[in-house]
Assembly symmetry: C2
Homo-oligomer: 390 residues x 2
Amino acid sequence: MRAPGGFPVVGIIGGGQLARMCAGPAAELGITVSVLAEAPDASAALVIPSAPVGSHADVDAVLAFAAHCDVVTFDHEHVPAPVLSALVAAGVPLHPTPEALVFAQDKLAMRSRLTEMGMPCPRWALARSAADVAAFAEEAGWPIIAKTPRGGYDGKGVLVARSADDMAEWLSHEGTEETGLLLEEKVDFVRELAVLVARSPSGQAAAWPVVETVQTEGICTEVLAPAPDLSPDLAACATESALRIAGELGVTGVLAVEMFEVRDGQGQPGFVVNELAMRPHNSGHWSMDGAVTGQFEQHLRAVLDLPLGEPTPHHRWTVMANVLGGSDEELYSAYRHVMARDPGAKVHLYGKGVRPGRKIGHVNVSGEDLGGLRERAGHAAAYIEGRVRE
Amino acid sequence: MRAPGGFPVVGIIGGGQLARMCAGPAAELGITVSVLAEAPDASAALVIPSAPVGSHADVDAVLAFAAHCDVVTFDHEHVPAPVLSALVAAGVPLHPTPEALVFAQDKLAMRSRLTEMGMPCPRWALARSAADVAAFAEEAGWPIIAKTPRGGYDGKGVLVARSADDMAEWLSHEGTEETGLLLEEKVDFVRELAVLVARSPSGQAAAWPVVETVQTEGICTEVLAPAPDLSPDLAACATESALRIAGELGVTGVLAVEMFEVRDGQGQPGFVVNELAMRPHNSGHWSMDGAVTGQFEQHLRAVLDLPLGEPTPHHRWTVMANVLGGSDEELYSAYRHVMARDPGAKVHLYGKGVRPGRKIGHVNVSGEDLGGLRERAGHAAAYIEGRVRE
C-alpha cells in the first residue's frame, strides 16, 4: 500500500537481513519498502508488509515485483544478468546499475577493472587449466587463493590451495574451463580493513571512517570502528580510493571495499583491495547505532537520489560483534542476561532460524574504551550464541 | 507470523504513530509487533505486517486480537474499561494494567491520587454544576482551566474559561453532571517540563533527562533535551517524583509526567504536575536519535519485563521539532531541500495524511550548540510543513 504524501516505493530483491534492516530507517523517513522474498518467513518478510514471494532468478516474478516499485535495489549480488537486462529493458530504475554491479558479481571483472584503474590488488591471474595454475604458482608461490568468479560469500567459493593437487577438483568442475577461476597470491597482511561509502546517481558521495574487520574461518566476526592505530595517510588514501572506485565504476547506493592492510619493503603501511560489495555490508552494521546516519538509511537515500546524510560517528569507538548460529535454536531467553549485564548493548537479531555458523544477528556497543567495548560486544554475542553461560 | 527463536509477540491496541515507531526497535530486537489498527492505512499498519483492523472499543475484536499476542500494550489511552476488564478476565497480560492506566485515562482520578501522594498539583476541584464552578472560581480566581476527565488530547477537551458564561455550554453537555468536570487554577508557570521514565513489571525503572516542552496552541511543537538551565535540585526532584509516581501507581511501560515549572514566593524553582501519559510520548521522540536507548525500544523492553536499556544521551543537546500538517498534501519533495541543507537532521514522517495542525512527523538534531540546533530542527519542520520555502 502506498503511503500518502508522494513518498516512493523502494523495491529490494532478496529478503535477507540487509533488506530487513532497511525497514526501520524506511519507516522513519516515511518511505515504503517492498521486498521480493525467497519465502514467506524470510528475514525481511517478517517485518515488511509488502513482501511477495519469488525467485530473484525468475524474470517474470522480478518484473511483476518491479512494476509496483519506483526504484529497485538489492539484498545480494546474485541476480543473473538476463534478469537485470530485462529490468533495464522494462525501464525500471536499478541501483546499482547492471554496468556497475558486474564488478561486485564477477571477481574476474573486478580484478581486471581495478588493475586498469591502478588500484593496488594482490597478484592475480585467470586460470582455466592446470597449466594456468602452475604458471601462476611459479610466479606467486604456494599457497594460492582460488575463487569462483561468481556466487561466493562468507568464505564460500574460496579455496586456499597448497599444491596443484588441491586445485584438481575445482578445475574439473563443469563450466570452470568456460568461466575460469580467479587465482590470487596469498597476501601477507597485517589486518583487514573495510571502507564503506555511499554514492547517489547525481554523484554525491559520503564515506564512513575506515574500519578494521576481524574474520574467523572466512566469516566476519568483529568490526572495530574506526580501525585503531590506523595511519592517517593510509586512512585518507583508502577512503579516497573507495570514493574513486565508486565514482569510476558508477556505483549507486552503498559500496563496501574490503582491503588487506600490508607493509611495503620499507615497513610503510599500504593496502590491497580484496573484495567489493555493492549494497549495505556487514562491515557497516556498526553505523546503525554508532553514526548519525546508518548505512541502511544512507543506502535508501542514495538509491532515491536524495541528499546523503552525515556519516559522523556518535562516539570515539563503536565495536560490532556478529552473532552466529550455535546449537541452540532458542535465542530469546538470553536477552534477560545480556541486557541486565550490559544496558548499553544494542542487540540486533534477524528473525532467522539457527544453523551453525549462520549470521543471525549482531551486537553494537559504543564508547571511549576500546578494550572494554570489545569485551562487552563479544560477550553479548557469545552469550546469545550459547558459547558462554555466565 | 511468529519468528523462530522463541521471540514473543507484543500486541499494540491502536495503529497510530506511537505504535508505528515501535516497529523499528522491535525488528532490531527480533520481537514481533502486531497492531490492532483503526484502518488498513493507519500509520502503523503501513509498516507492520500483522495489523488486523478493528476498533479498540469492540470487545470481540480486541479479544480476538489479543489471542495471538504474548503481552498487550497501547498506542493511546482510549480503550474503555469494560474492554480492559474483558482482557484481564481472559488472562491477557496488559501493560500498563487497568489499575494503573485509569490514572492516565481519568484526569479526576489522577488529580485525586496525586494529591493523596502529596505530589505538587495545581489547585483543583470536581465540578458538576454552576455552583461548583462558582465556588472554585472564588477560591482560585478567573480564568480557570476546565477539562473533561476522559478522552482529551492535544488541547482537545480543555477549556480556558474566563467567566461563568464560558462554562455554561460545557456544564450543559449530556453526562457532565454524572462524570463531572475537572477544574484547575491557571498556573502561572515559567515553562513546561516533562519527565519520561520506564518501569518494568519486576519494578526496574529508568529515567531519561528532564526535558523542556514548548507548546503552541495546546500542541507540543518543540522539545529541548535536556531542559536548559534547569536547577539540578529541581531536575533531581522532578525525576524522583516521576519514578515515585511510576512505582506507586504500578505503571508498566513508559510513563510521561508533564509538569509546569513554577517559582515559589521566594523565587525558588519548583513544579506542579500537569498530565500523565502511560505510553511512549511526544516529549520522548528526541530519544529515538538522541539517546542510547530510545523510548520505543524501552517501552517494548519494559512491557516484556526485559532489563531496561541505558537512557544516556549521545550528545549534550537534542532538539525535536514536530512537523504539523499544513495545506500541502505532498511532502516528499521537501526532502531534497531539507536533507541537502542539513545532512545531520533526522527526519521522521508517520505516513499520515495531512490535516492542518495534525502531528505528521518530527525532526531531531543533536549537538553542542543549542541555539543552532533549535534553528535547524525548526527550519526542517517548517520547510516540510510548507511554512517556509527557502
